[in-house]
Amino acid sequence: MLLKIEKRAEYSKSMVYLTPIIALVLTVLTSIVLFESLGVNPIEALYQFFIAPLDTQYEFSELFVKATPLILCAIGLSVGFRANVWNIGAEGQLTMGAIVGSSLFIYFPETDSVFLLPAMIIMGALGGAAWAAIPAFFKTRFNANEILTSLMLVYVALLLLSLLIHGPWRDPAGFNFPESQTFSESADMPILISGTRMHFGTLLALFAVFGAWIMMARTLIGFQIKVIGEAPRAGGYAGFSQKKIIWFTLLFAGALSGIAGLSEVSGPIDQVVPSISPGYGFTAIIVAFLGRLHPVGIFFAGLLMALTYLGGETAQINLGLPVAVTGVFQGMVLFFLLACDVLVHYRFRLNIARKATS
């Protein structure tokens, strides 16, 4: 090999936080080429993607509606990622949270209590956490790879939802169509700004951001998570239990994803439907890394990812760009981010001088 990749002895700390911005700039530059080749004026396309979706108060509020589940899931995932616990099943935990949380309304639709929604949120968190407990158990007991178990459980959760919504959870007055009845007022997330769809779940997401920030920066468990993640053996010598951290991070992520799912069904969707999330649990993985696994970074990364969804729709309506552009856009952000990360931590070296000696 003429080129050799080697680890940098020291890497720039500030670059780690700059890479998301560099990745974004590179994405925008590349997309100019993309738009040009699609025969669309790049300035207009970028305007449609990043500025037009924020034109009005309503559209601005939609940004938070979209970002809420992304931020909730990503916060939960990031804590695990810091401890090298690779839970990629947030989508399934989100789905289980929606199922368990909304079961209260489905089985007691007449309930008219102010405690209904809080109980649903708690049940949602428990449902998501219970689903994440399965990979935690298999990891700690049998050392089963949590990447596989958490991912496979996504499909189990989606099929369970499908089973319920094509069966016992159907709206009795709905001609057997696979939808539950629409939620009653007391099961609905309160709207924060009237005339928009921005709901109480957004406050929960903000609360999660601050809570996770404090937890990671100021508490013992946060310290343990960081130590176990960066130097598991040092953590072991310090008496930190790796099993405890695995359990904690998975349950934490499961609970937050569960709340995300519940706040979708009792927020913008307002009923249980066969597909609750357009992949928020998976996009949250990009959000977590784009946000550098830091709660505040995740907050902004969540808004940015939400913007690409909205911008993709606006660009479709106003410019006739295909929906695939949104996916290409999101993919490019992640690609450039990872590429920049590699270059921050590694460097390329020409491998000529060594040849003689080897």
Binding site: N41, I43, E44, L46, Y47, Q48, I51, A52, T56, Y58, E59, E62, V65, K66, L159, S162, L163, H166, G167, P168, G174, F175, N176, F177, P178, E179, T182, R197, E264, P268, I269, D270, Q271, V273, P274, S275, I276, S277, P278, Y309, L310, E313, T314, Q316, I317, N318, G320, P322, V323
Partner: protein
């Protein structure tokens, strides 16, 4: 670049975008289409897209049609709302899952007209329309009953909703009317469009002895499998013969062109009223693709006779006596199931194997 320069650039971009936006606004009436799949699915969405093109061709400069493809049902509300807020006159939402979002947006925009496909909820500014696809399946059933050698017909179902169950039953009744030994095996794939899953389902059905594959999913993958394995198949939603020139017996084609042109015209001339349309072979909403040359002349004659009989109203696909799968009476001799029963159909007729998922 200083912050001031940067903000100057941003506002310049915004301004340029704004000017371009202003330039595209014109006097023509805007008509929107919201699709659940990609326009290249060669099935359901593709046929709606042809309908859109028919509207554009018919009215030329008078209308500007726009579509948004691959819209997730659970997050469709903001897309529909954005079109309504942008001053669209008429919006077609072309999947069942868009029902409640369409009604929510319609409530906020009483001056915008909406057309929702395959739903059952209407409002003063929301019409519904669907197709009696089962009439086409009844004709296909006659052909399938005659053409099968193994007496096993495979049927790929998307979701166990009444529309799909109706098609299975209509096909089974017709096939058994010409060949009482026929049994029908159903494979549910829980998706409208997933070429991989649909193809696998086709393989599984063929392995279980099916020599004719029908489908109520949107991709041509099952036909390609049938072509490779040397069995018959029936195209869905559009003529799929180019994917399976030898295997395709015929195809059940959705044709929305006439309906879309008529409803758009009604909006343009102010005569539009909210109504429910359920058209079949007679109205031209359902068509059959040219029959495969390999079908014997007497079978073609039988199929044509059936088609004409349904168009003339002399043949009712759900005329009694009908025996349900469990042996109970579905319809008595001399009675024909009415639309109310058909709309909520959640039982199999005799001859279908397996249990209907509930």
């Amino acid at each position: 670049m200083t912050r001031k320069q940067l903000s100057g650039l941003v506002s310049a971009v915004a301004l340029a975008g704004g000017l371009l936006m202003g330039g595209t606004a014109a006097a023509e009436d805007k008509i929107g289409f919201i699709y659940v799949g990609p326009i290249g699915d060669h099935g359901w969405t593709y046929r709606h897209e042809l309908g859109r093109q028919a509207v554009q061709n018919e009215f030329g400069d008078k209308v500007k049609t726009t579509y948004v493809e691959s819209v997730k049902e659970s997050s469709s509300e903001p897309v529909i709302r954005q079109m309504a807020a942008d001053g669209y006159k008429l919006i077609y939402t072309t999947s069942f899952g868009f029902m409640n979002p369409t009604l929510k947006v319609a409530k906020q925009f009483p001056d915008v007209k909406f057309e929702h496909a395959t739903g059952y909820k209407r409002a003063d500014n929301v019409s519904t329309y669907s197709s009696r696809f089962y009439e086409g399946r009844y004709v296909v059933g006659k052909i399938a009953g005659k053409m099968t050698k193994s007496n096993v017909i495979g049927y790929i179902g998307s979701f166990p909703i009444p529309e799909v169950v109706r098609g299975i039953n209509a096909m089974t009744l017709a096939a058994r009317s010409v060949n009482p030994d026929v049994t029908v095996k159903v494979a549910w794939v829980n998706t409208w469009y997933d070429p991989g899953k649909e193809g696998d389902a086709a393989k599984a059905l063929i392995d279980q002895g099916a020599d004719i594959i029908l489908q109520h999913t949107d991709s041509p993958a099952p036909l390609q499998v049938a072509e490779n394995r040397g069995v018959w198949a029936v195209g869905q939603a559009s003529d799929m013969t180019k994917f399976a020139p030898k295997a395709q017996l015929t195809a059940i084609i959705d044709n929305w062109d006439g309906y879309y042109v008529a409803r758009t015209k009604a909006v343009l001339d102010g005569s539009w009223k909210s109504e429910d349309t359920w058209g079949g072979l007679k109205s031209g909403m359902v068509e059959l693709a040219p029959y495969n040359d390999a079908i014997p002349a007497d079978v073609v004659a039988l199929a044509e006779e059936t088609r004409k009989g349904i168009e003339a109203g002399t043949i009712m696909p759900f005329a009694g006596p009908i025996t349900k799968q469990d042996g109970s009476v579905g319809a008595k001799e001399g009675e024909s199931l009415d639309d109310g029963v058909l709309l909520g159909m959640n039982w199999y007729v005799e001859g279908v194997e397996g249990q209907l998922p509930k």
